[in-house]
């Protein structure tokens, strides 16, 4: 099996706020991420697809096609957007790396028809990221 990874970058704004909690609780839990007018990040997304190379083309999947899927499903939805207000898939959720990675997984999985989606890794900064896998596929003790 081969793992193939494509990387894209997008910029977006967000804030962390749970309307079911008091202002004080929001502040305590989320700290500066709770600032009311939001803030932004340069996100880096790494999408890894698993599969066997096609004997004719030598490819697990056509990278150009993957690039178009990422453009359509992720870039057009999230790049230069406010994740709290402009991405319906995140409505009602706190737009943490953990949650955004799962939303991206659900957007991409049905679109990837050659090979299968193995991992979505989303960096909010070089020092903070979340990995999303199908249960049991990570090799970790889950």
């Amino acid at each position: 099996m081969i793992l193939l990874t494509r990387k894209i970058e997008f910029s977006a704004s967000h804030l962390y706020h749970n309307p079911n909690l008091s202002a004080e609780e929001n502040r305590r839990i989320f700290g500066k991420c709770n600032n009311p007018h939001g803030h932004g990040h340069n996100y880096t997304l790494e999408v890894t697809v698993a599969g066997e190379p096609d004997p004719v083309t030598g490819m697990v999947l056509d990278l150009k096609e993957l690039k178009e899927i990422l453009e359509r499903e992720v870039m057009q939805r999230m790049d230069h957007r406010h994740l709290n207000y402009e991405v319906p898939e995140l409505a009602g959720q706190i737009p943490t790396c953990e949650n955004i990675a799962q939303v991206i997984w659900k957007l991409l999985e049905p679109k990837i028809t050659q090979g299968r989606l193995h991992r979505v890794r989303l960096y909010e900064s070089p020092d903070l990221f979340a990995d999303c896998y199908r249960n049991g596929a990570s090799g970790a003790g889950n």
Partner: protein, 146 residues
């Protein structure tokens, strides 16, 4: 959030600068020199280490988080960075009085310390000693990558 068959890990990177010397009293001077080469130079040397910590757990629907980063940062600072950053691993960390402070042993020691983090499950630590080498430890279990 409903269980939709997805598994999520949180990854966080920390940096610390420390010195070390690879040397063991179980070998002769000549053997130490042969095995460890320039890493055996008597006054030690240093690295900018990058520590990558991976945690798993339920994503709390109220916070969207596996673990609150403020809790994790404070725990790593208290249990690792305070003692390791700008210190000599050989002289200042008790675990390396007897054990050689290779990055392999550093992974095992840091894993042991961070395993006690109460808010999520520690899956693995990965330490980059330089830009060209890194080491991973996921506890004492069969390592397998899919």
């Amino acid at each position: 959030m409903k269980n939709d068959g997805l598994y999520v890990e949180l990854g966080r990177r920390y940096r610390f600068a420390a010195s070390h010397r690879l040397h063991t009293s179980q070998l002769t001077e000549a053997e130490n020199d042969r095995v460890f080469g320039k890493c055996n130079n008597p006054y030690g040397h240093g690295h900018n280490y990058v520590l990558e910590v991976s945690l798993s757990g339920k994503v709390d629907p109220a916070t969207g988080m596996i673990a609150n980063l403020a809790d994790l940062d404070a725990f790593v600072e208290r249990h690792v960075l305070n003692e390791f950053d700008h210190h000599s691993l050989n002289e200042d960390v008790a675990a390396f009085r007897e054990k050689v402070p290779t990055t392999e042993n550093l992974c095992i020691e840091i894993f042991r310390r961070l395993q006690k983090f109460p808010h999520a499950k520690l899956e693995r630590v990965r330490i980059q000693e330089t830009g060209n080498n890194s080491f991973e430890y996921a506890g004492n279990r069969e390592g397998h990558h899919s």
